[in-house]
Symmetry: C2
Subunit: 215 residues, 2 copies
Amino acid sequence: MTSQPLSRARIVAAAVELIEREGADAVSMRRIASELGVGVMSLYNHVPNKGALLDGVAESVLSEIGFTDDPEAHWSDRVRMQARAFRQIAHHYPRCTMLVVSRQLHTDAGLLPVERALATLRSAGFDGVDAVRVLRLFIAFIVGSLLREVGVTPTFAPVHEAAIDAEKIDPELFPEVSALSELLGSCDHEAEFAFGVELLIQAIAVHPARREGTR
Amino acid sequence: MTSQPLSRARIVAAAVELIEREGADAVSMRRIASELGVGVMSLYNHVPNKGALLDGVAESVLSEIGFTDDPEAHWSDRVRMQARAFRQIAHHYPRCTMLVVSRQLHTDAGLLPVERALATLRSAGFDGVDAVRVLRLFIAFIVGSLLREVGVTPTFAPVHEAAIDAEKIDPELFPEVSALSELLGSCDHEAEFAFGVELLIQAIAVHPARREGTR
DNA sequence: AGGGCGTGACGTACACCGTACGTTCCTCCG
DNA sequence: CGGAGGAACGTACGGTGTACGTCACGCCCT
């Protein structure tokens, strides 16, 4: 019946597929097992527990990031590319994004993006301390942005547009929110993300800790 | 036996206390009920379901932010203050932070910080569109930062220092990570956050969309 | 060739979860 | 005094993660 012999990779793939199809809290050992046409406890032959499975999901998704890093390009273009590449997981695997972001994993899949980013920042003229600083700043921004894009749909929801209902806001208490309710209600995530990335690039370009003129 | 007559506020308070004491996934209706010396189903007389309870927790924590906003101060100082105030919840309620951050709530408690921030940014010389943009940038950064500070401890963990074990990294594959492993292993969250806030303030101070000279 | 053994799939069992439903009791108002 | 409404409660159901014991199969070594 089951053609393939069952493996950690197949289990993780089934989990990813299930999460994207039905949301993160549809994931249960029984559900995944039945998805694979397999007994529940057979999963534990390849995965120590559910947490490790979710780690596997995060790692799998993260490792699919398509980095096309060109060490010859200008550092700002490299930063742009890496930020965009990282963001694309939020489009390919929107419902797995929370997992990738909330579980910090200490595996090579998580280290590779860090390595590329550090190399880029070093080439931009930062020393080690500041490269790490700036990297953490970027990661915080990216993580926060992805959470906004994706957190709108915690598990499932009918788009849920206009979370801020203009009608229910007291203009006396919240004049600004009330006046800007249209802007707050909708969000062009793409443009918002690009705005942030450009502003950050501009900011670190003029940062005094950077030694100008490198690469 | 039970002196107080049980209320939504008491239930939420017990949940917050329990989360801070034993972590987010120690929360169950039965656990909270027994914490209050009360039957499980009695909770449902004051709270429609568990999700609403968690929303209540997030709202409660969020509403405790101590804003001491001074409309007369320089906008950069106001931004600094607000960012710091927001971050303090990560210290007072570290294990609730994930809830505050991952559940977006459409209640006044969530709107008030937004209102203050928008007012500040308007006073800094941004029009509505850019005020919202910049606010979203700040929120993304703050959320990402708090998640790093707190996400290190998903539920419980023995500090878990040195997540990046310098010994296990192949210097061939990850030269930068290997060289900077000490820096990556430890993190002064306070300093890191301040660095980000200052850089962002500096960046928006010189941003062309801002009309110079206001307040 | 045959026996031992590791491995992987499986079923059962347990403690716990959220919550729908029906019951009881206490209080307050007419 | 009697009725009504709300609050606390107990029971029950379907679902969860996983510890444990069992079984069949293929490989290796004698």
